[in-house]
């Protein structure tokens, strides 16, 4: 038993390094997508202290809008632009109709409001687009298909061109977001709001504008995530559950930390895959990915309650 836990998995890794590389690659692809979804949560939380329960359904809504518009004959890239427009209108509407009237209310009220947004978008989305599985317009968007087969160490490593594209695009998006947050006036305003609401408001930062902006950014992230996951297994309301995979990422990385979202996403993506393949499947019958990330996050929280990169909150009485 001890050998199965402490020795055999590592023997397996060294015996088939090509397979280990495949596991790590699959973990990296999942991880970067988790990181992307987690970023959507973090941005909104930092600027408004709202835990956006609707992030998952926004992924579905964005992907369905894109596919739906294309089905009406709109060219692929124009559909992307129009979908971004729809996500902007959605952000604007949420700010005006849901968030603005609730300014100053306890956080839990705002959280409940995002559950309301989720339920509304589910109903609205199903009414407009139906619940059927739809094919993502990957080829129309120029997303490469096919794969590159390599033979490292005399073995087999398959890299899907779709996955390579996803990794590149998601990385670029993360870098662009970091640049936006660090080097632009609006980005600094978002960070300022996250650091100190009152101080930010006192220097003239507009809460309404920032809220619209962060919800729009969350919409962009939702669209990219929806395209990436939709291209893998179709566009349906099942995509919503993907977003819940970001919850342990937030617990691990810290709800306020952009770095935490990125590092946490990558860590969970790769570690859960390694654990599942080398420990979960041989010892526990598999399907450990459903709980591994949460257990890992809980262990981290035991030692760092604010998460790996979260800010320690000190409240003086």
């Amino acid at each position: 038993m001890l050998a199965d836990i402490f020795i055999n998995p590592f023997v397996d890794m060294f015996a088939a390094p090509d397979f280990l590389m495949q596991v790590l690659w699959e973990g990296l692809v999942s991880g970067i997508l988790y990181a992307l979804i987690a970023l959507g949560f973090v941005l909104i939380f930092r600027s408004s202290r709202i835990f956006n329960f609707a992030q998952g359904i926004m992924v579905v809504f964005a992907a369905l809008t894109l596919v739906g518009l294309h089905a009406y004959g709109v060219p692929a890239w124009i559909s992307v632009a129009l979908t971004l427009g729809v996500m902007f209108v959605l952000a604007l509407t949420i700010e005006r109709v849901v968030l603005r009237p609730l300014v100053g209310q306890p956080d839990i009220i705002l959280f409940m409001a995002t559950i309301g947004i989720t339920l509304f978008l589910i109903g609205f989305g199903e009414t407009i687009f139906g619940g059927e599985n739809k094919v993502m317009i990957s080829s129309e968007l120029g997303i490469p298909t096919g794969d590159t087969v390599m033979e490292p160490f005399g073995g087999l490593l398959i890299l899907q061109h779709l996955d390579i594209t996803v990794v590149i695009v998601a990385t670029l998006l993360v870098l662009a977001l970091l640049a936006f947050l660090n080097y632009t006036q609006m980005g600094r305003a978002i960070r300022a709001l996250g650091d100190d609401h009152q101080a930010a408001l006192s220097v003239g930062i507009s809460l309404q504008t920032i809220w619209v902006l962060v919800w729009f950014i969350a919409g962009i992230i939702a669209l990219v995530t929806g395209i990436a996951w939709g291209a893998r297994a179709g566009v349906s309301f099942a995509l919503e559950v993907i977003a819940y995979k970001a919850l342990p990422v937030l617990m691990l990385g810290g709800l306020e930390s952009i770095t935490g979202a990125i590092v946490g996403g990558l860590m969970i993506g790769m570690l859960e895959k390694l654990f599942e393949i080398y420990w979960g499947q041989p010892l526990l019958g598999g399907n450990t990915e459903t709980w591994f990330a949460f257990v890992l996050a809980l262990i981290v929280l035991l030692f760092r309650p604010q998460g790996l990169f979260g800010e320690k909150i000190i409240e003086r009485v």
């Binding site: 596991v23 199903e126 059927e132 899907q160 559950v241």
Partner: protein
């Protein structure tokens, strides 16, 4: 006083009207799921069911002249919501259609008390075949244990001998996915193949890379799949991605949905699915549905969906219900049957080739019959194969070797009855009846 008289009169009129309204329909609620992660597979089935009954209502005034009201109660495939829907609709229902193995297991004991038949065609708890124990439950025309047996038979026919082979059972980590395991385990022991169950969690349905990495590592000879909803699409795309030989990938009937295969198109060629239903666009029933439902603007379906396996299965499911109603109406000499009478009807269905043809369902369902002792019917099924564009039949009718697991059915039924004691048995029902 005058006001009181008016009120009393109004109450009487309302009562008579309501009574008449209730009497003029057969209420057969459907615990449907058109929303949530499983909607993609639920919608074509529900559309097929609804369109067939709408056609009967429009063409024949219902069944035996009484319209069938198959009102849908949305569950989203959630077991909790399913139970709520059952409770909400059971008052005047003559049947309940739970539409999930999880919901079926939950309402199974309740239907004994409420005396409402469960109609779960091709799903639910496999020992429901034992009509003496499960007098209110029906899973005709074929159950999951039949499916497991037929798939193994097919593989045997292809390979000759399964001894020493490795077969992966890729399944949804849900009661439905685990349902065939007892028979698969028994068949593995009897035929000498290695069975490797690989579960897929509900949150992992669209990201099955870990499961397919395990399949790559284990190098199985075959993968059989008990998948549903988004899991099917996830598995099929991963199989293509990892270059698994699709010829060796076989799903149960709920994993044979055209839309899931269209995601991979030609790359999915060779994928198979055992099925007790098959679309036949030239069947007379399709023309009737077009005339009485589609052309009247009453259908929620579309031509592409209507040509698929799942829509046609929805039609067959409603036809089974209608046959049960007809049998009960004929036997009891009344068109307005109750739940108890429908129970009798459902266990006296006799779908011969002639009857199937009479119903206009030619080629869409194999012949089968139910009895007091056998609530499954064990119709058997065809092996379907994806040709890159649609499913085609690649086998003659396969029939399950029910003798091979008759003892298992009896044991599991007895085990269920014991653990849910006191469990009422249908003592009038002998094993041969």
């Amino acid at each position: 006083m005058r006001q009181m008289t008016k009120l009393a009169l109004a109450a009487v009129v309302a009562g008579v009207t309501a009574g008449a309204a209730i009497a003029q329909e057969l209420y057969a609620p459907n615990l449907a799921y058109r929303t949530g992660p499983f909607a993609a597979t639920g919608i074509p089935l529900m559309n097929g069911q609804a369109d067939y009954l709408s056609m009967l209502n429009a063409r024949d005034g219902g069944v035996g002249g009484i319209p069938v009201n198959a009102e849908e109660c949305e569950t989203g495939y959630s077991t909790e919501k399913g139970v709520e829907c059952y409770e909400k609709t059971k008052g005047k229902a003559i049947v309940t259609q739970p539409w999930s193995t999880g919901i079926t297991l939950q309402v199974l004991p309740k239907t004994n008390v409420d005396e409402i038949p469960i109609l779960a065609p091709g799903y639910g708890f496999s020992p429901m075949m034992d009509g003496k124990t499960f007098q209110w439950a029906f899973n005709a025309p074929s159950g999951y244990w039949d499916a497991a047996d037929m798939i193994v038979q097919y593989l045997e026919g292809k390979d000759g001998d399964l001894s020493g082979k490795k077969i992966v059972h890729l399944h949804l980590d849900h009661p439905y996915g685990k349902e065939p395991l007892p028979v698969l385990e028994a068949l593995a022991a009897a035929k000498g193949f290695e069975l490797l169950p690989i579960p897929v969690g509900l949150k992992e349905m669209q990201n099955q890379s870990a499961q397919w990495l395990q399949i790559r590592r284990e190098r199985p000879d075959y993968v059989i799949m008990w998948g549903w909803g988004a899991m099917n699409a996830g598995a099929i795309t991963e199989a293509v991605k990892t270059k698994f030989n699709m010829e060796n990938f076989i799903g149960v009937w709920w994993a044979g949905h055209d839309a899931d295969l269209k995601l991979v198109g030609a790359e999915g060629k060779g994928y198979k699915s055992i099925s007790w239903s098959f679309p036949n666009p030239d069947a007379p029933v399709m023309a009737d549905i077009k005339k009485h439902v589609v052309d009247m603007g009453k259908s929620q379906s579309n031509p592409e969906e209507m040509s698929g396996v799942f829509y046609s299965r929805g039609i067959v499911i409603s036809a089974i219900l209608a046959e049960g109603i007809t049998a009960a109406q004929d036997h009891f000499g009344t068109a307005e049957i109750n739940a108890s009478q429908l129970r009798w009807g459902l266990e006296n269905i006799n779908m011969t080739e002639e009857r199937i043809s009479e119903l206009g369902l030619d080629g869409m369902v194999p012949p089968f019959s139910t009895s007091c002792a056998n609530h499954t019917g064990n119709s058997g099924g065809w092996m379907l194969e994806w040709d890159g564009d649609k499913f085609v039949k690649v086998s003659d009718l396969l029939t399950p070797n029910t003798d091979g697991y008759a003892d298992l059915v009896a044991d599991k039924a007895a085990e269920y009855a014991t653990s849910n004691a006191p469990w009422p048995m249908n003592e009038e029902c002998s094993a041969e009846s």
